[in-house]
């Protein structure tokens, strides 16, 4: 079986590919900003935080995409807002408050899944199934990608300033909280859109791994955003192919490919990688 033939033959594979590329366009740029904020693990936290919403949605309205995504979105936004406001109020640092809120949310989610009437497969919630992407899920992913990219273009300047020097924007009365919460809402939206295809855990992988890897490609923020999208797209295509050829679960295959690219760039990327540090050109050499 060739590399391309399965995609020509199976409709569901083409749909998975389209959905995966949509995610690859929107999630990694958010990851780049999360890395710069030193919030690399927050995606993980928010990914867990949406679980109770998904469970409640499924319990009340059955296993429909709208119910589960809507519930997940509400739960994620609630945790994000609560944590953000607790941190903005100065009660504690943002990572600490998010850790507190997401752990409560996760425990609540697992409790609801085990107690609820609907037969929810926890494993599928956490790891998803990219081959079950239906039209509604595909539309959600494509819509999310559109909203994310347009949003990022609009709030790019204030978001960069807020990320680099929040105190400066505060002194300028630049409404730092607005841009910050807008950004975190995009993170939640992307995780929710990705959870059906990749599961909550794997969705974070596609957001963060290309973002971390992009550091080894470009020294500029814009360069890292472009590089992260390229890496993620490559990982989606390679992961789907690997999953078909080697019969591995699709979500993990995609994240493993992203991980492999990250490790390769960590060792031999053009910027600040192990090789780039070792093979330093002589000083002042052109």
């Amino acid at each position: 079986m060739g590399l391309i033939e399965p995609f020509l033959e199976f409709y569901f594979l083409r749909r998975a590919l389209a959905g995966g590329i949509a995610l690859a366009l929107s999630a990694p740029p958010l990851g780049v900003f999360l890395v710069q904020r030193r919030l690399s693990l927050i995606g993980d936290a928010l990914g867990h935080a949406i679980l109770p919403g998904v469970a409640v949605g499924a319990a009340l309205f059955g296993l429909s995409l709208v119910a589960m995504s809507g519930g997940g979105l509400l739960a994620g936004l609630a945790v994000m807002l609560a944590a953000g406001l607790a941190a903005r109020g100065g009660a504690m640092r943002e990572d600490a408050s998010l850790a507190g809120f997401y752990l409560v949310s996760l425990a609540l989610g697992v409790a609801l899944v085990s107690w609820g009437p609907a037969q929810l497969d926890l494993l599928e919630l956490l790891f998803g199934s990219v081959l079950a992407v239906d039209d509604a899920a595909l539309l959600l992913m494509a819509g999310t990608a559109t909203v994310t990219l347009i949003s990022l273009a609009v709030i790019w300047r204030p978001l960069v300033i807020e990320t680099f020097d929040a105190g400066f924007l505060r002194a300028q009365d630049g409404k730092g909280a607005l841009w910050h919460l807008w950004f975190l809402a995009l993170v939640v939206l992307n995780l929710v859109a990705a959870f059906q295809a990749l599961g909550t855990l794997m969705a974070v992988g596609l957001m963060m791994l290309p973002a971390v890897a992009a550091r080894f490609v470009s020294p500029t923020l814009a360069g890292q955003v472009v590089a992260s999208v390229a890496i993620a797209t490559l990982a989606v295509v390679a992961g789907l192919t690997l999953s078909v050829q080697a019969d591995i679960a699709t979500g993990p295959a995609i994240v493993l490919c992203a991980g492999a690219l990250w490790l390769a760039l960590l060792v031999a990327g053009p910027e600040a990688s192990l090789a780039a540090r070792r093979l330093r050109r002589p000083h002042l050499a052109r």
């Binding site: 710069q36 709030i155 300033i161 680099f164 020097d165 002194a171 470009s218």
Partner: protein, 254 residues
């Protein structure tokens, strides 16, 4: 450019009940250039943060004469910023245009030229495209000065602006301060180098939680006042009685 005076009326700022600035009254006159001097923990940074509006006084009042938030340029101690952030020098300096350009408007060619000029004024000509990760601590401090230049603020608050900076750079930055002073801007700077204060700053506020002296530098910095400032106890006095000093002005009327 005549900024309004900054008037402090019996201001107390406290962290967890313990005052860091205690019953401070006075006025930073328009166009004045004041050094804030005092031992560690004397409330110097707290005073600046209260002036810029980051901290609310527990009692007393700060009258900024209706200055907009963006009209006070504030240079915090630089250590808080992530210098490995993937930004170019010109991009960081350009943040000073926020008040003029806001979150969305594109910068005009004239404004781009002003960014170049600001970088040149602090000795960073030809650094525009350099990533900030490649700057030394002193060069980064100059970059923050360039950003402050572009803010074009009538009131400038500087928190230990010359820390970890070599003498030549300090001299360069002092020249920028003199220019601002000449343009009639109000300058308030926290400093530790008393020689520099005596040479460059007409006015001094000597702070040891409570004001020890505030006036012309020669009169504020005497052996006697400096000795009194050193007597300030850094430790919190847990047995201190609540302070019932008469509150003045508007609060008493209220």
């Amino acid at each position: 450019m005549t900024p309004p005076p900054l008037v402090l009326d019996n201001v107390t700022v406290a962290y967890a009940r313990h005052p860091a600035v205690h019953h401070l009254s006075g006025c930073f006159a328009p166009g004045s250039m004041t050094a804030v001097v005092g031992p560690n923990g004397a409330g110097k940074t707290t005073l600046l943060r209260a002036l810029v509006g980051e901290l609310q006084p527990e009692s007393g009042r700060i009258d900024r004469g209706g200055l907009a938030p963006g009209a006070i340029g504030y240079l915090p101690q630089a250590s808080a910023l992530d210098r490995s952030f993937p930004l170019a020098c010109a991009e960081v300096a350009a943040m000073g245009m926020w008040a003029a350009a806001g979150p969305f408007r594109a910068l005009s060619p004239v404004e781009r030229d002003r960014i170049e000029e600001a970088l040149a004024a602090v000795g960073l000509r030809s650094f525009a495209a350099r990533p900030i990760a490649t700057l030394s601590a002193g060069q980064f401090q100059r970059l923050l000065f360039a950003r402050l230049l572009l803010q074009d603020a009538p009131v400038l608050l500087l928190d230990e602006p010359f820390n970890a900076i070599d003498t030549r750079t300090t001299a360069d930055l002092i020249r920028v301060l003199r220019r601002w002073h000449g343009e009639g801007r109000t300058i308030i700077a926290v400093l530790h180098d008393l020689e520099l204060v005596r040479a460059e700053f007409p006015d001094t506020l000597l702070l040891a939680r409570e004001p020890i002296a505030w006036g012309r530098t020669a009169e504020a910095l005497t052996a006697e006042t400096l000795f009194r400032a050193r007597l300030m106890a850094e430790a919190w006095d847990e047995t201190a009685e609540p302070c019932h000093r008469a509150t003045s002005g508007s609060r008493r009327a209220a």
